[in-house]
Symmetry: none
């Protein structure tokens, strides 16, 4: 007679119950307190725990006119397959506010497909925030591929381990790319990528039905730099060569042309091709990323975009 149910319901279970009663069933905290047999204050704590534990996920399902307009104009200007613009909160400092929910919604849209699909993903803070907003699903028939290695130059795994977290949430078979982001040399990259199982992953990535990538800038606090995938010198070289941004490690200039040479000779990520016919969705926002996003759009490195209002406006004034 021993089981996981014997244990008194964990605090999180209670929080889930309280959160459900509050947000879904519309009870007041007093009613919840009565139903759960606790004080009102405890009920309040449970509800707020449900929020802070990310049990509660809120989404807005409406094309706001202003954002619609921006989205249309962006599609027009850059020939995008699709574009979603979420409202900005001018007073919030969070970079991913709203974007994360929209990205998660887009991912879910694809994951709900009846047909088995191959979804490939990049990495970074933004994608990670999206994945954190995903709801639990059972997607055993789909396959998730990582476009980018997760090993830093010091051998540690990346802090923004998007693919593992993603696969965990949606219970999909997944294929991380056990490579450095940028190999030590051209030869090393060749050797690493010629391994049979790596070739298999690269091959799967090519068949992707949908791709989600973040867009990295190359300013002082470039993600590639902060995560120690490139050195400060390498960044300077890239800047001198005209680089404005990077996608899964591949650096490109203001027109979205992939750079020849420099670190691009050693990037071990899955190659990216402009003008892909399947959806390649860039998720990015922030004024610091304007030129990086603009470049990616101009070079058609991505054909879909999820961003926010403020960023969209900047992109259009560009």
């Amino acid at each position: 007679m021993s089981s996981k149910y014997d244990a008194e319901p964990s605090r999180l279970d209670e929080a889930a119950r309280a959160g459900w009663l509050y947000y879904v069933a519309g009870n007041t905290q007093d009613e919840i307190a009565k139903k759960l047999g606790v004080s009102r204050q405890s009920a309040q704590r449970l509800v707020s725990l449900a929020i802070s534990a990310k049990l509660i996920k809120v989404r807005l399902d409406h094309p706001i006119a202003q954002c619609m307009e921006l989205s249309l104009r962006l599609k027009d200007k850059f020939g995008l397959q699709s574009c979603e613009v979420v409202p900005s909160d001018p007073t919030s400092s969070s970079v991913t506010l709203g974007i994360a929910q929209a990205g998660a919604a887009e991912m879910e849209r694809h994951l709900k497909s009846e047909q088995p699909i191959i979804m490939s993903v990049g990495t970074g803070r933004t994608l990670r925030a999206c994945v954190d907003q995903l709801q639990q699903m059972d997607c055993q028939k789909h396959r998730i591929i990582s476009l980018v290695g997760n090993i830093a130059s010091d051998g540690s795994a990346s802090a923004y381990d998007v693919i593992v977290r993603l696969a965990d949430t949606i219970k999909s078979p997944h294929f991380p790319l056990p490579l450095p982001v940028i190999a030590a040399s051209v030869e090393e990259r060749e050797i690493l990528q010629s391994q049979k199982f790596i070739r298999h992953i690269l091959d799967l990535a090519k068949q992707s039905d949908v791709t989600f990538v973040g867009i990295g800038h190359l300013e002082d606090n470039a993600p590639l730099l902060e995560d120690h995938f490139i050195t400060s010198e390498e960044r300077s070289d890239l800047i001198k060569a005209g680089a404005v941004g990077e996608i899964v490690g591949w650096a490109y200039d203001a027109q979205g042309n992939l750079l020849e040479g420099h670190t691009n000779d050693r990037v071990a990520s899955v190659p990216i091709f402009p003008n892909h016919d399947k959806p390649v969705i860039g998720i990015a926002s922030g004024i610091g990323k304007i030129s990086a996003i603009s470049g990616a759009l101009q070079g058609k490195l991505v054909n879909s975009l999820i961003t926010n209002e403020a960023t969209a406006e900047q992109l259009l004034n560009n």
Copy 2:
């Protein structure tokens, strides 16, 4: 800035924006009012419009959520006073897993009452499992009544002696029903039930503030049969007459109508009445019991239910 893209923001758009700022960005209505340039009251109206127009979608990402939704739907479908659905553990074969804890919790909730109460209980494996989960309490002011006799046709006491065990755990005065479950004849039932102290118990049972019963099926391995309260022939007769389940011995059909005649003429248990105003809580789970539970719910023989996820889903697909 005027172009084909311009669309004046409709009220819903404003509502969407307000809802977004409120729920996603976490602004207060005052802040929203300022940002949208309207009064605080208007902001409040926009936010509530966003909810009532279903623009805002809240999800709870936790196994409990599923159960709460099922519970709500069951309440709706069968007009129940209350309904609790506990998670199913697909890997466990135990019928009472989780149910027992939930049932015990519900019992404790009532037993904690300051006012002296009368609680009546049926019998069976499920109720026994609930009672086994009860914590020791001191409930001398309450009274516990058995709804059903505990004597089998061979004179032995029932193996699932719920009431004694219950009273033992909570130290309450208790009133077992020293009768067979099903008398040998209509006359015998009359004689037995006319005894003064039996009448007293039946009378107490009528005053019950809360009632807990199991729900028995009438398949091959029907509890009534296994415990030798009825014979195999009697079961066949019942089935032919349309019986799908029984509560404290009273057999009923798929619509929850108590059968006329058959063993029901001789059942010595406390009578049960549909549409009771006090809580009558059925505790049952298992796919084998679906039609029995469904009948009990349709006929309002119980007005509250404790079951598990899998059973709840079946009941709703019915």
